[in-house]
């Protein structure tokens, strides 16, 4: 299939070479995967800026709940009058912070950027299977971004029922102001987002299956591609279920159906809803919600696998085990959603089943962590900023993953459910880890995207402050969770019992401000390097994968001549020749995938 498709694609590339694209074609309605990747990246980073800024406002409020800050009035307008944050806007901030970070930054920003950039480049394809669909996917994403941000300008405020938008709170404007127009906009935004995500994912799947260059078998694919490919599959399986949940919720809200509502008395009147169940919504939501964790995390792990191997100058340890783990995680991720619902009122027997499947998922995760550590062992580590973030990811993935053993155990979940323990757990294991993956990917592939290098010293400063700060925020947070501090509380001062936790909350907030401040190093580095960074050479990290065989200057169709053929897997780093006197290619510790097997050389892993 792929062999037959290639000559056609070649001809096409030559024809296209003569046509000079207009500004709009090149930068706005571009169908080139490299440009779409950059569009995703920059929109994702802007959304990330907004999302993190929201969390800063929340941390400010939590640390000093009874003080006034002019910044509230500046940023929140009438929800921050006289420098006092309104309780309803606190809930809105936490809702939209979650929504933006999970969907817009870590799903679209991460997967959208790197799947688009790397899938065609690393499998040796001229572009995505459908460039038009790809463009459509980005523009739907962009519209969705605009809609969700615009919900902040609605009179009664944006959606405020938590990012999980459980009904009845999210269904009844009488219950909370944000469940009016703000919630409608949330549902519209997410619906468009799901459409965008599906178009993107289907494209990734088709491209990986059909457009691999000659010799690129599935077992020669870099782990990045495996991760993006499986992520896309999980997305296709689970996102439609979210759409279904959203649609039913929309009908309950607008057309008086009772899918999720029953027996409600609010503001002096009994509503006519009868027979629905919020628990049904929870099932539907978490059927997406849990795989979503892995939709966020797997691309980060894929990126890390590639960067750790390249910078360790070693093959990734246990390539096949890594693929098996990705597949196992993907499968298990769709059968563990109930661990979010141990105390939702569902049958306790179901709780037992979900405990079992949940703890199973720890096994492939452990295998991955150990494989990363072994990959470092006896390497020759090139500690570039991308590598530091990758090592950081392994660290936070372990720390955050381990506390999952507590939350996944139905018994232990009873007392830490919906406390700050959960917040600490998922921020470390998916928030910080995935962000590290995003940063690692940006530092590593910046030369490929923009043809210039990012400043490494600024990268180092960025990493170390972030690493210290992230643990400073989230490690102590476990302990206030164990004290029984509930999440989504506007302030804790109504419970004198929590008074002695206030100092810890201040500590956490101070770390949060420092960490967020450190991101400005990145912002500066990113923007200035696009324009003034040192020009990149073709293969700065001495990497094996195919993207580094393309010229620095982007061309439509990626390779000026023939598409390179692949003769080996992507991890032949520091491989010795038969006599073990020197590397396979003398004096060079890496063998790119397009180099044919040398004489007497045995292929790894086949």
């Amino acid at each position: 299939m792929s062999v037959a498709a290639q000559p056609l694609a070649n001809d096409h590339a030559h024809e296209e070479g003569h046509h000079e694209p207009t500004f709009i074609e090149k930068y706005i309605f571009s169908t080139d995967h490299k440009m779409i990747a950059k569009q995703y990246l920059i929109s994702g980073l802007i959304m990330g800026f907004i999302g993190i800024a929201m969390s800063m406002l929340m941390r400010l409020q939590l640390a000093w709940p009874n003080e006034t800050f002019w910044i509230y009035e500046v940023l929140l307008g009438r929800f921050g009058e006289d420098g006092v944050m309104d309780p309803s806007i606190y809930l809105a901030l936490s809702t939209i912070h979650g929504t933006i970070m999970i969907f817009y930054v870590l799903t679209a920003g991460l997967s959208g950027t790197f799947s688009n950039l790397l899938i065609p480049l690393q499998i040796g394809a001229r572009d995505m299977a459908s460039g038009f669909m790809n463009m459509l996917s980005f523009w739907l994403f962009f519209i969705s971004c605009v809609v969700i941000v615009s919900s902040f300008f609605v009179e009664a405020g944006p959606a405020s029922a938590g990012w999980t938008v459980y009904p009845p709170l999210s269904a009844l404007p009488q219950a909370i102001g944000g469940s009016g127009l703000g919630m409608t906009l949330w549902l519209v935004a997410i619906t468009i987002f799901v459409a965008s995500s599906l178009l993107g994912s289907l494209n990734y799947i088709v491209t990986v299956l059909n457009l691999r260059t000659q010799g690129m078998t599935m077992t020669r694919l870099p782990l990045t591609i495996w991760a993006f490919f499986v992520t896309a599959i999980i997305g296709v399986v689970s996102f439609p279920v979210l759409l279904a949940a959203g649609l039913l919720l929309l009908m309950d809200r607008s057309f008086g159906t009772s899918f999720f509502l029953s027996d409600i008395y609010i503001q002096g009147e009994v509503l006519s809803y009868q027979g629905g169940s919020p628990v049904l919504y929870e099932h539907l939501f978490w059927f997406l919600g849990h795989p979503e964790v892995y939709i966020v995390l797997l691309p980060a792990l894929g990126i890390t696998s590639e960067i750790i191997a390249t910078n360790s100058r070693k093959p990734i340890f246990g390539y096949r085990a890594m693929i098996a783990s990705i597949l196992a995680i993907a499968f298990l991720s769709t059968v563990v959603w109930g661990h979010h619902m141990f105390v939702s009122g569902m049958n306790p027997f179901l709780g037992s089943v979900f405990t079992f499947t949940t703890l199973l998922i720890a096994i492939p995760s452990a295998v991955k962590a150990f494989n990363y550590i072994t990959t470092l062992w006896k390497g020759n580590l090139q500690l570039n900023p991308g590598m530091l973030f990758s090592i950081g990811l392994v660290s936070t993935f372990i720390t955050g993953g381990l506390t999952g053993i507590i939350l996944g155990d139905s018994t232990l979940d009873i007392n830490v459910h919906d406390t700050y323990f959960v917040i600490a757990h998922f921020h470390l294991v998916m928030g910080i880890s995935a962000l590290y993956g995003l940063f690692a990917g940006i530092y590593h592939w910046f030369p490929k995207m923009f043809g210039r290098m990012m400043n490494k010293n600024l990268g180092y400063v960025h990493f170390w402050i972030t690493a210290v700060g992230a643990y400073g925020i989230f490690f102590p947070m476990h302990f206030i969770g164990m004290a029984g501090l509930p999440r989504r509380y506007y302030k804790f001062t109504e419970f004198p019992y929590f008074d002695d936790l206030a100092n810890t909350n201040i500590l956490i907030s101070v770390f949060a401000f420092i960490t967020a401040g450190a991101q400005l190093f990145f912002v500066y580095n990113f923007i200035s390097s696009i324009f003034y960074g040192k020009r990149a050479e073709q293969n700065p990290w001495k990497s094996n994968t195919l993207e580094w065989t393309t010229p620095v200057k982007h061309i439509h169709g990626n390779w000026p001549g023939e598409i390179p053929q692949v003769h080996r897997w992507s991890y032949d780093y520091s491989k010795l020749n038969k006599e073990e006197t020197d590397y396979v290619i003398a004096g060079q510790d890496f063998v790119p995938q397009n180099v044919p097997l040398q004489e007497h050389e045995e292929e790894m892993d086949d």
Partner: protein, 348 residues
């Protein structure tokens, strides 16, 4: 205010470090290599920083366990002891794994930092190793799962005996009510459609079982007697969280959920425990210095509480109910003084 100072100091510190590094950079002889790829020296420095970092990280973990684990709430119900034991075993296990794996990760990052001339080993696979680190998690996790599931089924399967006290916990934006079943030990029918005037919980006025029900705003529980809670909500999802009793259950409109436990420590006993005496003294010192509090708010005495732990609206952060655990005699005395539902409706 001190906190603001901390921020300013931290910010200034950051700027100082930044400026120093700038000066440092400027004072360096112009390097020929400005490729922005890690050099031998970068590898050396960053490798060492990983060592510094692991010291910081271990320090942070030690500090957290040393001075924050005291926040862990004392246990006051029958299954809480079992819960705490499973919790501590799990924490011990994960901290053991955490300390070792983090050490290996950061140590390797330091030990194998790149050096000119160093050759990395070409080491792609080892079935034995991978088998080992698959099977070890399998065994440990199996043990944890089995332990956890036994506790789970014990906690969740509440058997109703003659002794069991059945109490309905009723949630609405933003408060709780308790309804006791009265002498007939059966809760009367209830539905939101019966809510009218003084009948806030929608208890059926025609159901004979409802006549002796007792509705209160404070939850009184006799010590050492199993309680079975039936949860009902009139508007949105809430979650009834009893941290000291290691209990939590969502309160779902349209259905009744349940949870049971046996309180084992009376309010008086826990108030006089060493842990609580210390804690309350500390809290009162904090409150004494808090200028935002009025004079009558300064002094705090410990009471058990029930709080809402599922986002339910603007005042979610202040949806609580006081719980009093007392001896059987005290409880009987208290309950006999309460008005029954029948008496309540008869007044109107």
């Amino acid at each position: 205010m001190t906190a603001l100072l901390i921020i300013i100091v931290a910010a200034l510190l950051g700027i100082t470090i930044w400026q120093i590094s700038k000066i440092f950079k400027l004072s360096q002889p112009i390097e020929s290599d400005d490729s922005q790829i890690a050099t031998n020296k970068d590898n050396e420095n960053q490798g060492k920083l990983f060592l510094v970092f692991i010291v910081f990280f271990y320090g942070l973990m030690l500090y957290s366990f040393w001075s924050l684990s005291k926040f862990y709430a004392p246990a006051a119900s029958d299954h809480a002891e079992d819960y705490d034991q499973l919790f501590f075993i799990s924490v011990a296990l994960i901290m053991f794994v955490q300390v070792i794996t983090q050490f290996m990760l950061h140590w390797f990052a330091f030990k194998y930092r790149g050096q000119k001339g160093r050759k990395a080993i070409f080491y792609a696979d080892n079935d034995k190793l991978e088998f080992i680190w698959t099977i070890i998690p399998v065994i440990t996790l199996s043990a944890l799962i089995i332990y956890g599931l036994f506790s789970w089924s014990e906690i969740m399967n509440v058997e109703e005996t003659d002794e069991t006290l059945v109490v309905e916990i009723y949630a609405y934006q933003f408060a709780w009510r308790a309804r006791y079943s009265g002498e007939d030990r059966t809760l009367g029918e209830a539905n939101v459609r019966f809510i009218e005037g003084i009948n806030q919980l929608g208890v059926s006025e025609t159901d004979p079982y409802a006549k002796d029900d007792i509705i209160t705003t404070v939850l009184h529980l006799p010590v050492d007697r199993p309680v079975l809670f039936k949860f009902r909500s009139q508007d949105v999802l809430h979650s009834a969280y009893f941290p000291f009793f290691r209990s939590q259950m969502n309160v779902v409109p349209g259905m009744t959920t349940q949870f049971g436990f046996t309180p084992t420590t009376t309010s008086k006993e826990i108030r006089n425990s060493d842990y609580m005496v210390d804690k309350v003294r500390n809290i009162n010192e904090i409150r004494e210095n808090n200028d935002n509090l009025g004079p009558d708010e300064k002094s705090y005495e410990f009471e058990y509480y029930l709080l809402c732990n599922k986002i339910c609206g603007v005042s979610h952060y202040n949806m609580q109910m006081k719980i009093v655990v007392e001896t059987e005699e005290e409880y009987q005395k208290w309950i006999s003084e309460q008005q029954t539902f029948g008496e309540l409706t008869a007044q109107n």
